[in-house]
C-alpha cells in the first residue's frame, strides 16, 4: 500500500488521539436545561442526577431529567437555594450499568463539585455508588425503592420515593381483601425485584396465602414461554409480578396469550410504556399499591397537584410522562430544596440535620421525614388498571367492579 496513504491514516489516528487527550470530558449532547459549567460558583447550587438515558430503559432517565428541570426552574423562580441559583450538573449516562454508576459518582464528586445528587431509580446502581457519595459527604437522595439502600448505614443518603417495605403489607392485605389465596410469583433478577419478591412471599405466607410457584427470568430476556407454561400449569388464582423495566410488559402480554385471564398484582404501577407493549386489553386487572400513578389522558387525573404538574409537563415536553420516574425526580428536587430552606444553608451537613423536619406535599401524597428513617412515604394508595385507566381500587370495589370481573371471567375464589 502506498506510503502516503499509510502515513495519512496514521497521522489522522494520532491526531484524533492527541485531541482526545486535550479534551477533558466532552459535554453530552443530550437533554440539557439548566446546565452550568464545572467548578463551583459560590452562588450556585449544583444538582447532579445519575440516571441511564440511553439503552433499553432510557425513557425512565429522560423523563427523570425532564422532571428535574421542571423542579429546578420552579425553584429558581422562587428564590433558589437560599439565593443560590439551581443549576443542573453535566449529565453522565449510567447506561443501566452499575460500573458506570460508580464512574459517574466519581465524576460528580471530582469534576463537578456537586452540592447534591439525585441517585438512580435502579437500586443496584445506588448500592454500588452510594459509598462514594457518603464518603465525600454529598447530600444524596435516592429514587430507588429497595429497602437495602437505607440499610447500609450511609448518613448522607435519604430516599425520595417509596420504600417497598411499606408497599408489601398493603399488597398482601389487598389480596386478602379479595379473598384470593393461591398465587404464582414472577420475578426478575434485579436487586429491587428480588428483595421485594422475597419480602412479599414471606409476608404472604404469614397471612395464609399459598405461593404455588415462584418463577424468575433474566434481565432483557423476553422469551418467557417456559415460565408462562409452568405458571399456567400451576393454575393460580392470581399472579404477582415483581419485575422492573419494560420486560414487565412482555410478561403480561405472554401470560395473557397463554390463556391466563385472572387478576395480576404488581409491585409498582404499570407504566404507560408497559401498557403499550402488553396491549391495552391485556393490561386489564393489574392491581398495585404505590404513591404514584401514570395517566394516559390528563382528564383521568383527579389529584390536584399532580394534575398541575402533568399540565405543565405536557405543555413543556409535548406529552405526558409514561413512567413515574419523572415524579420521583421532581419530588426529590423539592425535598432537597425544602431541606436547604429549613436549614437556612446550602451545606450538606446542615441540610441533612434539617431532613427530619421536612413535611411537604409531594406528587404522591404527603412526604414526611419525621420518623427519622430517611423515608418520606409511609402509606400508599391502591390502584387497579381497568379499561385504559388507573382507577382507585376502593372506588372500583365499591362500584361493583370486582363482581363484574368475576362475571366476565367466570373466576371463582
Amino acid at each position: 500500500m502506498k506510503l502516503w496513504v499509510r502515513a495519512t491514516l496514521l497521522t489522522v489516528i494520532v491526531a484524533i488521539g492527541a485531541s482526545t487527550v486535550g479534551c477533558n470530558g466532552a459535554a453530552s449532547g443530550k437533554p440539557s436545561g439548566n446546565e452550568g459549567a464545572s467548578g463551583g460558583d459560590a452562588n450556585e447550587f449544583k444538582v447532579g442526577i445519575s440516571v441511564s438515558y440511553t439503552g433499553p430503559n432510557a425513557q425512565n432517565g429522560l423523563e427523570a431529567i425532564n422532571g428535574l428541570n421542571m423542579a429546578l426552574d420552579y425553584i429558581n423562580e422562587n428564590d433558589g437555594f437560599n439565593g443560590g441559583k439551581a443549576v443542573l450538573a453535566t449529565l453522565y449516562d449510567t447506561k443501566g450499568s452499575t460500573e458506570e454508576a460508580v464512574k459517574s459518582a466519581q465524576k460528580f464528586i471530582q469534576n463537578e463539585n456537586v452540592n447534591a445528587v439525585i441517585a438512580s431509580q435502579v437500586s443496584a446502581e445506588v448500592l454500588a455508588a452510594g459509598r462514594y457519595y457518603d464518603e465525600a459527604g454529598i447530600f444524596t437522595i435516592a429514587m430507588g425503592t429497595s429497602p437495602s439502600v437505607m440499610q447500609k448505614g450511609w448518613k448522607h443518603i435519604i430516599r425520595g420515593s417509596v420504600n417497598y417495605d411499606f408497599v408489601v403489607p398493603e399488597v398482601v392485605s389487598c389480596i386478602n381483601d379479595m379473598e384470593i389465596s393461591k398465587i404464582a410469583v414472577m420475578k426478575d433478577q434485579s436487586e429491587a425485584a428480588l428483595t421485594f419478591a422475597q419480602a412479599f412471599e414471606e409476608k404472604a405466607k404469614e397471612q395464609g396465602i399459598e405461593i404455588l410457584i415462584s418463577e424468575s427470568c433474566e434481565p432483557e430476556d423476553t422469551d418467557l414461554s417456559a415460565q408462562c407454561a409452568r405458571i399456567i400449569a400451576a393454575d393460580p388464582q392470581a399472579v404477582f409480578i415483581s419485575m422492573t423495566s419494560n420486560d414487565c410488559g412482555y410478561f403480561v402480554k405472554q401470560i395473557r396469550q397463554y390463556g391466563y385471564d385472572g387478576i395480576i398484582f404488581d409491585k409498582e404501577s404499570f407504566f404507560a410504556s408497559m401498557v403499550g407493549i402488553a396491549g391495552a386489553e391485556n393490561s386489564n386487572y393489574i392491581i398495585f399499591a404505590n404513591p404514584y400513578v401514570t395517566y394516559e389522558k390528563i382528564e383521568d387525573c383527579t389529584i390536584d397537584n399532580m394534575r398541575a404538574f402533568l399540565e405543565e409537563y405536557q405543555e413543556r415536553f409535548g406529552q405526558l410522562p409514561t413512567t413515574e420516574i419523572a415524579y420521583r425526580a421532581y419530588d426529590s428536587a423539592m425535598v432537597i430544596w425544602e431541606a436547604s430552606k429549613i436549614a437556612g444553608s446550602n451545606e450538606a451537613e446542615a441540610m441533612l440535620a434539617a431532613v427530619p423536619k421536612i413535611k411537604i406535599e409531594g406528587l404522591g401524597g404527603t412526604m414526611d421525614y419525621s420518623n427519622n428513617d430517611g423515608e418520606p412515604y409511609h402509606t400508599v394508595r391502591r390502584f387497579i388498571y381497568v379499561d385504559g385507566v388507573n382507577m382507585d381500587w376502593n372506588e372500583w370495589m365499591e362500584s361493583g367492579g370486582y363482581l363484574k370481573y368475576k362475571e366476565t371471567t367466570k373466576n371463582e375464589y
Binding site: R6, V21, S28, L127
Partner: protein, 331 residues
C-alpha cells in the same frame, strides 16, 4: 517475521529515559486531577490483560472471545477468597490468577484441536457459561446480578486505596508482567508459538508438541487476564456481572488489533487508545459502536499490524528512502 526489538537498547535510551521520568512523575503532574489518575490505573489493568491476549492470539494464533470470562474469574476469585478467608489481597490475587490459568489450560486441552470458527464458538460459549455461573452462584455468594463488594487494594497492611498509590503498585505489576512476557516470547517457547501460528502442520512436522504449547499459551493468557481482573476488583472495590459479559471480550480483541499484535508496545498502545476512545465517545453509545466498527475494519483491511505495526513500517520506509535500497519485503 520482523526482528523483535528488545524493550531497552542503548540507542533507544534517548527516547526511553524521558518517557520513564514522565511515567514515574505523572502523579505529581495530575495531583489535582484524580479522575485522570483513575484513568491511568484502568490503563494499567487493561494493558496487562491485552498483553495476555497478545500471547494467545498474536503469538500462538488462537482467537479468543473469552477474555472477560477469565478477567471475571480473577475478579470474583480474588473477591471471594479474600472475603471468606481474609487472606492478604496480593496473595488472593495471585491465587485467583493461578486458578484461572488452570481453568484455562483445562479448557484449552480439548479446544486445542479447534480452529477459527469452531474455536471462536467454543470461547464464546465458555464466556456465556462463566457468565451464567457468576449470575446464578450457589447461595448467591457472588451477589448474582447485583454484584459484590470487597476491600480496596492494600499491601502488607498499607492501604493503597487512593488512585495515586494504586498507580505505583500497578506500575510495578505492569513492568514485571510485561517483562516476563517479553522474555517468554523471545525464548524457545515464544518461537514455538510463532511456528504454530504460521502453520501448525509444519510445526508438528518439526517435532513441536502443538497441543502442549497451545495449552500453555492459554494458561499464560488465563493468568494475565485474571490478574488484571483481580487488580480491577481491588481498585474499584466492586464488581458486577456486566464486566464478565461476552460483549466485553470483543473489546479486548479490538484493543490488540488496534495497537498491533505480536509486539511489545502494541497491546499497550491498543489498551490506552481504546480506553481514551471510550472516554471521549462515552456519551453517545451509537458513535462508540460506529467508531469500533470502522476502526476494526480499517485495521483489518489497511493496517493489519495495528498502530505500532504501521508506525514501524513507516519508520522503515522513511529510513530506506533516505538513500538505502528499498526493502520490499518489509513494505
Amino acid at each position: 517475521m520482523n526482528k523483535t526489538a528488545s524493550i531497552v537498547t542503548k540507542d533507544k535510551l534517548g527516547l526511553y529515559a524521558p518517557l520513564a521520568v514522565l511515567i514515574l512523575t505523572v502523579p505529581l503532574l495530575l495531583r489535582n486531577f484524580s479522575y485522570g489518575m483513575m484513568f491511568l490505573c484502568f490503563c494499567e489493568i487493561y494493558i496487562i490483560a491485552a498483553n495476555g491476549l497478545d500471547v494467545l492470539y498474536g503469538y500462538s494464533g488462537q482467537i479468543s472471545f473469552a477474555t472477560s470470562a477469565f478477567f471475571g474469574i480473577g475478579s470474583y476469585g480474588s473477591l471471594l477468597i479474600h472475603n471468606y478467608t481474609g487472606l492478604p489481597i496480593l496473595f488472593t490475587m495471585i491465587m485467583a490468577s493461578i486458578i484461572s490459568a488452570a481453568i484455562a489450560m483445562i479448557f484449552a486441552y480439548p479446544v486445542s484441536k479447534l480452529r477459527f470458527a469452531f474455536l471462536s464458538l467454543a470461547t464464546i460459549s465458555f464466556n456465556y457459561i462463566i457468565f451464567q455461573l457468576v449470575t446464578r452462584s450457589p447461595g448467591g455468594i457472588t451477589g448474582d446480578f447485583n454484584g459484590a463488594f470487597t476491600d480496596q487494594m492494600s499491601l502488607f497492611g498499607l492501604s493503597l486505596k487512593s488512585y495515586y498509590s494504586f498507580y505505583y503498585f500497578g506500575l510495578v505489576c505492569v513492568i514485571l508482567l510485561v517483562a516476563v512476557k517479553n522474555l517468554l516470547v523471545k525464548s524457545r517457547v515464544g518461537r514455538a508459538f510463532l511456528a504454530i501460528k504460521q502453520n501448525h502442520h509444519a510445526a508438528e512436522g518439526m517435532g513441536i508438541d502443538v497441543r502442549k504449547y497451545k495449552v500453555l499459551a492459554f494458561g499464560i493468557y488465563g493468568f494475565y487476564a485474571a490478574f488484571a481482573g483481580a487488580m480491577y476488583v481491588h481498585l474499584v472495590g466492586y464488581i458486577s456481572p456486566e464486566t464478565v459479559a461476552q460483549q466485553q471480550s470483543v473489546i479486548f480483541m479490538i484493543m490488540i488489533l488496534f495497537g498491533g499484535v505480536c509486539s511489545n508496545w502494541g497491546p499497550i498502545v491498543g489498551a490506552v487508545g481504546i480506553l481514551l476512545l471510550q472516554e471521549v465517545l462515552g456519551y453517545a453509545e451509537q458513535y462508540q459502536l460506529l467508531a469500533y466498527g470502522i476502526l476494526l475494519l480499517i485495521f483489518i483491511l489497511f493496517l493489519p499490524g495495528g498502530v505500532v505495526g504501521a508506525a514501524k513500517k513507516l519508520l522503515t520506509r522513511l529510513k530506506n528512502s533516505k538513500g538505502g535500497a528499498v526493502d520490499h519485503a518489509n513494505s
